[in-house]
Amino acid sequence: MGKLQRYFWPKTALLFFLNEEKIEAAFGYVEKDEIDILERRIISSENRSELLDWYEEICHTYPKTYVAAMLDTINQGALPECGKPAFERFGVDAALVHSLCIDEKWMAYTSLVEMKWFEQKFKGMEFDLLFSPFVLLYQRSKPLLEENPGLFLLHQKGVAFMAVLSAEQMWYAQVLLVSEGKMEEERFETESEEPIEELSFDLDMLDEDEEVAPISDVDILGEFKEDIGEGSKSLEDESALELLEYNLNFFEEMKEAIAKFYHDDRYPHAFIEKVTIFDMDELESDFVRYIEDELFMQASLVRFDPIDVMAELVCEEIGR
């Protein structure tokens, strides 16, 4: 776009995505093959009005502004085939989802209701483009695709979008929800679920004469106090522990997903040798080493900026 055209008829884009408790947004001119990013802002997700104000300010100056966002909804996914039969085959209710066939190879879908919720969350903003994280992952992975399938993960705090991709096709895709306190939750869930057969008993079978007394040993324990120690050090330790737990949970989820890919007959099977993690959070190289040691896979960690990938896609969508 020439300078004159940029001055008189500018085509601009506002790109944003939600990351944890903040919204990362960028504004720039849409050029022929790229977006010339002029400004980036990080806005608290509670303070959405700031983003809306910025949007209105931009629209007032540049009426030809396109708004693009990455959908952060949970109920979305990808299927390795296009067309309605794929929904039936993989147990997705086609009436409740909005789908998009990519490269005539695979299909990204999202819950219609959640997509509307997302739009409603930013009421007052007219969305032009909504991208699935799988589409962003695919776009970013394209240069790395080979003949043999590789595992590609787009990691955001608390969630990871996993896809097994090769140059020819998509093999498998899944959304991994990574909980920070998964162990505790699991324990809680186990308690709330149906009683385990070995432990279940019939209360009527108890001898009526036998008294049911409280466990006195608990009383013996007395008042238990954890030694908190010095504040900052303990906080550091705590956060390190949380991170470790999170990484373990993530690893477990990943392992389960890979196992599902290997064992689910609806998907084609192939051995995965490479893992590439596109990280939007703060995963460390320890996690990569852990994967390499535990899963015997070649792993790599790459920083991922959705704004850059969205910029490429926006250019392809509207820059033509």
């Binding site: 396109y66 990519i102 991208f131």
Partner: protein, 175 residues
């Protein structure tokens, strides 16, 4: 190829201010164009008017020349008329005077008044009556006087007096 779940919405090409500016410019251009067209048409119309008016001017100039000539002719005629009228008046007065000059004793039988002069025919009782009573005033009027007498049986004299000289007579108007 599509990557987004939704299609981009059509965007307005211009913002409110630019739209007003464009409308203003369009109106200005329209006015300029309209005015230019008007001026052009007016110029063409005036050019054709100029040609027509030149022709009319030529015609009027010709007519004017003709009228001038006519006026000159009429003025000349009027002048002539005036002269003739004056001459005739003078002649009338001269004739009246001439007749007043003729004494009672002399009887005129014929008088011819023309450019050349006055020719009188008549009868006089004597030559002296004629010479004293008629010839004297005729001499004061005409430069040359020639009188011829013919005796009559009764002793009177018939005379023919030819007077030439200054009296101008009224004649036809020369155009």
């Amino acid at each position: 190829m599509r990557f987004s779940f939704i299609h981009p919405k059509p965007k307005p090409k211009l913002d409110q201010e630019s739209r007003i500016l464009v409308i203003f410019l369009a109106i200005t251009l329209l006015l300029i164009f309209g005015f230019s067209t008007f001026v052009l048409l007016k110029k063409r119309s005036m050019e054709s008017d100029i040609v027509t008016m030149k022709q009319e001017t030529r015609q009027f100039r010709g007519k004017s020349e003709r009228f001038k000539k006519e006026i000159a002719r009429i003025e000349r005629l009027a002048q002539k008329y005036e002269t003739i009228n004056t001459n005739n008046t003078l002649l009338k007065e001269s004739i009246q005077n001439l007749f007043d000059l003729v004494p009672d004793q002399i009887t005129l039988t014929k008088a011819i008044l023309d450019k050349e002069g006055l020719v009188l025919y008549g009868v006089t009782p004597s030559k002296d009556v004629y010479n004293y009573l008629l010839l004297a005033p005729l001499k004061s009027v005409f430069q040359r006087n020639v009188t011829t007498f013919y005796p009559l049986e009764n002793g009177w004299w018939r005379f023919v007096s030819v007077n030439e000289g200054s009296i101008e007579t009224g004649s036809e108007v020369e155009e």
